[in-house]
């Protein structure tokens, strides 16, 4: 009897069981068929892709650089900068 992760006595014909390759193929099928048969999800995925593009490409690359990583190359320099910011009476 094939392995079933939740202790089924009789495995469903399509369940995610079997050997490693078989399991991998079924996982791929799960996603491929799932995406193919989506209805509401198609417009949602479009919005998600637009959103991820805006977040990771536009906002992150052009508007949200990591201040310390951009301006200093070593942790020593970063620590020194923060030290001067915090106790340099600038605030």
């Amino acid at each position: 009897m094939p392995f079933s992760p939740f202790g089924e006595t009789a495995c469903h014909i399509h369940c995610l069981c079997g050997g490693p390759m078989n399991l991998l193929q079924r996982i791929i099928d799960l996603y491929v068929d799932g995406f193919r048969n989506m209805t509401v999800g198609k417009s949602l995925w479009l919005l998600i892709i637009i959103k991820l593009f805006l977040i990771f490409i536009v906002l992150k690359l052009f508007f949200f650089p990591n201040f310390l990583n951009t301006n200093f190359s070593t942790d020593e320099e970063r620590a020194q900068h923060v030290r001067s910011e915090l106790i340099g009476n600038k605030r």
């Binding site: 799960l30 996603y31 068929d33 995406f35 509401v40 999800g41 910011e85």
Partner: protein, 519 residues
């Protein structure tokens, strides 16, 4: 100073906007995942196709909400690196560790099982599918846990030691962070408030179905499940809210004073159930704090200390470091003026450490480090010149707290009435349009209540980003204010557009699907 204030204010406004936007989706995910899992459990037990249809209807709405919220929290992490770099460095691995666990464990668990939940109906066994639905719900709560642990550390920094070599805090007790009373209360309070919110959402949408006379049986089934989840949610939220108040009175008494608009405390302190603050009232003057108030005698003493005679300090008492015994004797604690002095002494010790380190003077370093440790708890006060700078915005905190509490009380009543109608007065439930309108109007109210809770938590703890250790003004990066204004505006425009598009998808789905027979 004006430029700095402007930069701090814009950075805070941007973080608030992003966090409040993110929180539009999170509580619905937390609560709706549980409601859907319960519905699927009933289907699994009964194999009744009507429960399957009900489950799928709400599961799709859950999916739309999940997609709407995807990655909105990532912006907060960008802001830490760009706008709050001093803070990001200073917190060291403490903030990073819970967030990394959240990313690696909880998010992947959630993301894996959510795929099975949506794509696996005909691919996996019913039991595996049900387990995936529950694991999605558990994964969502676990995600919230680590974020809330990180936030709680900012409110109550424990389990770490400051390393002056690296200028950052080092975690030395992971469990002190995770199990701090602030973290445990905040976790249950936030998650259960999500159940409350999702319950109102499901009932509101179901009421709309009843109003339109579509799929009445499914609507009533949904109301029953959502009613119980919501009732448990609101009772748990109230209980953990009480626990939170006791913890706040201990670790953030200034926040509690601001929540109540309390300037001068007393033994047997009353609590303001509803009121209007005097806008002209200033710290230290003799004006009345309220223009109008309805108060419950001894209420705040009971809420904060569990003792009707206990002393609850007001803003002025805290600034002066004064409290009273139940007999009325004055106890002198540490005033804010002294905290400022000790904070400046901590800064001085750190400067001496820095000079000694540069000179390679080990003994001077040890001495400076010992002095720093002695006053480190007051490190953040060293940035202030006057005690009044350490007081949060009392008006905003007071009104947000009272909006949250009044709406919380309303939702308790709402759930009791709804469950009574669902079980005992079904005809009224299905036929009376007034209660249906009330249920629909309750949807925006529950979001206002939920967001108000975060306003209390975050505005009430100002000016601190890390309580006692780092005020907002010290935490920000030295970047131009104009760049923060630009990103604030960009975010507001882009995400308002996306929100409108996404809400449109959700409403269209509900409208279209409700016209089908899904009973």
């Amino acid at each position: 100073m004006n430029d700095l204030t402007s930069l701090v204010d814009w950075s805070r406004a941007q973080f608030a906007l992003t966090a409040m936007y993110h929180w539009l989706f999170v509580p619905l995910t937390l609560g709706l995942s549980v409601i859907v899992a319960i519905m699927e459990s009933v289907y699994f037990k009964t194999r009744d196709p009507r429960w399957l249809a009900t489950t799928k209807f709400w599961m799709t709405i859950f999916g739309i909400n999940f997609a709407m919220g995807v990655a909105t929290g990532i912006i907060l992490e960008f802001e830490f690196g760009t706008n709050w770099s001093n803070y990001s460095w200073f917190v060291g691995d403490i903030f990073g560790a819970p967030l990394a666990i959240e990313g690696l464990l909880a998010f992947f668990m959630e993301a894996t099982f959510i795929a099975v939940m949506f794509f696996g109906w005909k691919k996996v066994s019913p039991r595996f599918h049900l387990a995936s639905t529950w694991l999605t719900a558990i994964g969502a709560s676990l995600s919230a846990l680590w974020i809330l642990v990180a936030n709680s550390w900012m409110q109550y920094p424990v389990g770490m030691e400051f390393n002056p070599h690296e200028m950052r805090n080092m975690m030395d007790d992971f469990w002190a962070l995770v199990l701090s009373p602030v973290a445990t209360n905040k976790f249950f309070h936030s998650v259960l408030s999500g159940w409350t919110l999702a319950g109102v959402f499901v009932i509101g949408v179901s009421a709309w179905l009843l109003l339109k006379k579509r799929n009445a049986a499914m609507a009533v089934r949904s109301i029953k499940v959502a009613g119980w989840v919501g009732l448990i949610g609101i009772l748990g939220t109230l209980a953990t809210g009480d626990g939170s108040a006791k913890v706040v009175s201990e670790v953030q008494p200034m926040k509690l004073a601001a929540m109540e608009g309390l300037y001068k405390g007393s033994c047997g302190q009353s609590i303001v159930a509803a009121g209007i603050l005097n806008p002209d009232k200033k710290i230290g003057d003799n004006q009345a704090p309220y223009l109008f108030d309805i108060s419950i005698p001894c209420g705040l003493s009971i809420l904060a200390e569990g003792d009707p005679d206990a002393f609850v300090p007001g803003v002025e008492d805290l600034l002066a470091g004064i409290s009273l015994t139940p007999e009325g004797d004055t106890i002198h604690g540490i005033s804010y003026a002294e905290r400022i002095e000790r904070g400046k002494a901590a800064h001085d010790a750190l400067r001496r450490f820095d000079i000694a380190k540069a000179a390679g003077d080990e003994s001077a370093m040890l001495l400076a480090h010992a002095d720093l440790k002695k006053d480190f708890d007051y490190f953040g006060y060293g940035y202030f010149d006057e005690a009044g700078e350490a007081v949060p915005n009392i008006h905003m905190t007071f009104y947000a707290f009272h909006i949250m509490v009044i709406l919380g009380g309303y939702f308790l009543l709402f759930y009791i009435v709804i469950l009574f109608l669902a079980y005992k007065q079904r005809n009224f439930l299905e036929g009376n349009k007034w209660w249906q309108l009330v249920a629909i109007i309750s949807i925006p109210l529950v979001w206002i209540c939920s967001e108000a809770g975060w306003v209390v938590a975050e505005v009430g703890r100002q000016p601190w980003v890390i309580e006692g250790l780092m005020p907002a003004r010290a935490a920000i990066s030295g970047i131009p204010t104009s760049s923060v204004i630009t990103t604030f505006t960009l975010f507001a425009i882009i995400f308002t557009g996306l929100l409108i598009a996404e809400i449109n998808i959700m409403l269209k789905y509900i409208s279209r699907k409700s016209k089908e027979n899904i009973e």
